[in-house]
Point group: C3
Chain length 440, copies 3
């Protein structure tokens, strides 16, 4: 076992939460959709931190059962009353326009306008987030209070958008490790000003990738920033032959709120990524929720489709759609906090650490216990809780190191943190009692 | 997948409960035992509904470890007091005479008579049901109140019965399906006037068989109406070579009371019949009890003996022997209700439907999700609960259709009713997204 | 199945608890350690009951990673105040001197003496038990009240002990059975006057071995009385090639207190010994605690080290270290009671019975149930609870006797005591319905 390998601490600075938050603040105002300048602008910001490769895929390209749609861009939008006052203004919130709304410039009565207004009657102060990618339509999304305040008059409606031949844009960054085996880390980059969903995930992965840059790793890490669904499908269609390299993967979204953490297992159910994250969460001191795989959610839907069945799970804080802020204007920069972003990043880094450092162990003195005392390996037992855990860790490692158990296996069985098991195994190795070799 | 196949709805008319109840009313008064005219009379009634084959097996025939006993018949029985009054009269209830009582015509004092009286002291108004098939004896079964009213005098006792060389009688009906693989449905037909145990089961299977007559089925369905224990043993002994055709089976008894439903698994524990019924019960909105196999109960004891080990479970409402009406005169026509009979029949029909229609599925577009929206396959998500279930059903089917999962597997995993999974799979098949082939 | 074989009742006399207690009383006063005259004296007492072989292994002998230490003996020890009064006297309790204390004869002030005093501040009336086998040191163990009463004066301190080239001593006794397959029963014999830990276990195994002397058994039983850790390691190092004969094993310690019973599974987790003891405990009417294996505790640590991985569990009453009396002077002869010792012995004997008598069963009439009634095998069903259990036992045995289930398998599945299953199987065998052959 190579003790020079990175530990998770090297992946996360003390102020990692602040760094992630700062980047999220930067990209929050951008109006993103599944195509268009918003995505390009966002990826440009990420590119200031990591050597991001930008890929452009033309409208009309077939990707499995799908086709790259026209590119959507928007410059301005408003609703003006008869007095020329903008009662709804895209400049105030890019949620005000349904994503992929076709261009409109009309004067219409309230009755007709109402067919194109979305509100949340039960959350009357919030703007909903709505899209219509594959059905031509237009709409405004406003608060229910705005709707109630609308007079029965005639309105000037403008949506200065365009739907044209163009491109779908995504970015990827590969951190090369010692092997070509890959760890996929994926965040959707298609939502407009929603802070948790998914400025948080995009910013977290960017900062994690940036921290990784100087480190030697066993796996190669592929960071993918792509529009949800169509972006993941596009990447899979263009990289089908590379997929067999993917040994572990994680979709990261909504990682800045105070809820959860929540982990949804990969389709395989107990892949290494599943076991590693679940192990880390169980020793986190938090109250994690671990969900079995189900075929709804984020881009794990695509990675875990039966034709790929990649070992990719989903990491979140609150479970999506179960919080009132979900897909509303309340998912803003106040909803995400540096401490939650930092904690999320630490948890993910710890899971990476488990996967990087898991090793098969062989006890070199397997007959009876070796005499730990004369080697000074027994800690003070009375009172010192850490020493007691270290003693139990030694005994567990020695007992289970029959060549059939890895450090993670032992950590799971001993119900001790991987960190403790790993550092204890290193001590035993230094004393010639153990031989450990990395698990592939 | 052949969409012309029967669904369970075609097996049960709206008034199926009333039909079953009417037939139960018809056969309730008949005095049945394990042999004799009562069984013949009952099978004759069933024969008015289905083309029942009647089999007669002579007294003395060896059937495995057993021998067909003498045939028992009874014409009259009473206990008269010194004033010539019938204080107990077989004409009022055929439970009054212990089944297989030998002929008696004697004048005896109360003290001697008492050795031949069965009562239920804790249920003083009910007549118990008693038998003595294999030990020559005679007895009357009376209410405890009747016993307490008996004066210390001399009684004329008559049991005008006969035990003679004759036959054991059973009936069977085979609905021929597309294959010779059989589904065995079995009800015991040896109890006298006990409505739930088992006029209910006999009537239910007869009505189910009658409804099935016009339908094309994959399996052949064998309906067996035979005396408990000795009847099932006789059938097995005479049809040993046919048994390997039996792929699924169900013993049906006590299906008209308001309790349960109760399902006792086959000896195999998780056979297709077990999984199918348990699935149906779990989605029934009722509070089913599912029991592991145990070697006591009804004729599943014989079907599940280790020399046969057939996949045959037991379907009931209340668990036998756990209700106060069990084996007493309170198990009468008021105790069973058309609504419970109908519900029992529907549950059984639904389980048959699962077995008939289960199919292995292959997703024809297994790489990423197909674009369901452009095919009009996505239901309105918001609010419409059925549409949401249909959407999840689609996603589950597409995700699990890797050739290793059947519709039932998917229904179990998705925790959605088989009906929903099946109809959704048909839609996907119609859109060329799925190929399904029946499970054998 | 050989009905002459011993049942567990023949292993335990009615007064077995009194016998065990009497022997525990005898050996309680002896000052034992991991070497020395105390162990020899103790083994000499055991040798009055069984033909114990005493083994002596010289100081300096290598046993795997360990070395036999010097032999420790002690004659006297005290602390005298300035008035010549013995304020601490080894003659009153051999716990007063830390085991393996080096010789001392000094006059020292209280301040210096205090560095060599162990007390239990939270249990101020109890003397703690302490050892320092592998680090040269000396100390007295006294009650906290004694400590508080010490004046600030000068004390005469004497420990008249010796640490010299000598031997490690252990005893073993082999009861020869019909085969060379062995059942290992092991108790540590290194603690001084601690009644439960482990005079109780030593006395129990000795009495069990004595009772076994006249009996024919299938397994050979090896009883091992050795110092904890170093003794077990020594035995394993000297008998490495014999270990493959050990098919089952049990470490017995702390078996006289009213708590538990507690069973800790072997490393294999579900070995025959584990299943047998757990079965017996579950039918004991007590509230047993069953623990998964963990690599801390008694000599099962050595037997279950990965180089041996023997199927050896640990039987106790209270779980060690979880009772206030543990390793204190409160673990005295009042703490253990004949009734608990007897009960512990009966439970162990019952588990031995299961292992001795487990047999694979084949139903000789596997097609349908045999007619039990005409063979007089059906007990009176109504009311008689034992008869009902016997009936169910018959049905379970017949149903599961397909050659793939043993009596223990059947007892577990039927949730009936092994005794009932075994005696019922014998009845069925006598009636030609069953063939049973001992499980190896």
């Amino acid at each position: 076992m190579n003790v020079e390998r990175f530990g998770w601490e090297r992946l996360v600075a003390a102020d990692i939460g602040e760094q992630i938050y700062a980047l999220a603040v930067k990209i929050y105002p951008i109006c993103r959709s599944i195509t268009g300048e918003g995505v390009r602008h966002t990826l440009h910001e990420l590119g200031k931190h990591i050597a991001l490769q930008i890929k452009e895929v033309p409208t009309g390209t077939a990707v499995f059962d799908w086709t790259i749609p026209r590119e959507w861009n928007i410059r301005d939008a408003y609703i003006k009353n008869e007095r020329g006052e903008k009662v709804v203004d895209f400049a105030k919130s890019n949620l005000h326009v349904m994503s992929y709304s076709v261009p409109v410039r009309r004067r219409i009565p309230l009755s007709e306008l109402k067919d194109h207004l979305h509100t949340l009657p039960r959350q009357p102060d919030l703007i909903p987030y709505r899209t219509s990618y594959y059905k031509e339509d237009w709409a405004f999304c406003i608060t229910h209070r705005q709707l109630e305040a609308l007079q029965d008059e005639t309105y000037d409606v403008l949506i200065d958008s365009s739907l044209t031949e163009g491109y779908l844009t995504y970015g990827e960054y590969l951190h090369r490790g010692e092997t070509e085996d890959e760890f996929l880390l994926s965040a959707h980059v298609c939502h407009p000003s929603l802070a948790n969903d998914n400025c948080s995930g995009v910013a977290l992965l960017t900062c994690l990738a940036a921290r990784m840059a100087g480190l030697r790793t066993r796996y190669s890490y592929r960071f993918l920033f792509a529009p949800g669904t169509i972006g993941a499908i596009t990447w899979l269609a263009r990289n089908e032959d590379k997929c067999r390299r993917i040994k572990h993967g994680l979709v990261v979204s909504m990682v800045g709120d105070p809820g959860g953490p929540t982990y949804k297992r990969s389709r395989r159910g107990n892949a290494k990524i599943d076991r590693s994250i679940v192990h880390v969460l169980r020793h986190s001191g938090l109250k994690p929720t671990v969900l079995e795989f189900f075929p709804y959610g984020y881009d794990e839907r695509q990675y875990c489709s039966p034709g790929f069945d990649l070992p990719v799970g989903l990491f979140q804080r609150s479970k999506f759609a179960e919080i009132p802020e979900y897909h509303t204007s309340a998912d803003n920069l106040d909803f995400i906090r540096p401490e939650h972003l930092g904690e999320s990043c630490r948890l993910i880094a710890q899971a990476l650490d488990v996967i990087e450092n898991d090793a098969l162990c062989v006890n070199l003195m397997p007959k009876c216990e070796p005499q730990l005392g004369r080697r000074g390996l027994y800690g003070a037992v009375g009172g010192d809780k850490d020493a007691a855990a270290a003693n139990m860790a030694m005994l567990w490692i020695l007992n289970l190191s029959d060549g059939g158990h890895s450090l993670l296996d032992i950590a799971e069985r001993a119900e001790l943190p991987f960190d403790v098991i790993r550092s204890t195994a290193e001590r035993l190795e230094q004393h010639g009692l153990l031989s450990a070799s990395l698990v592939r």
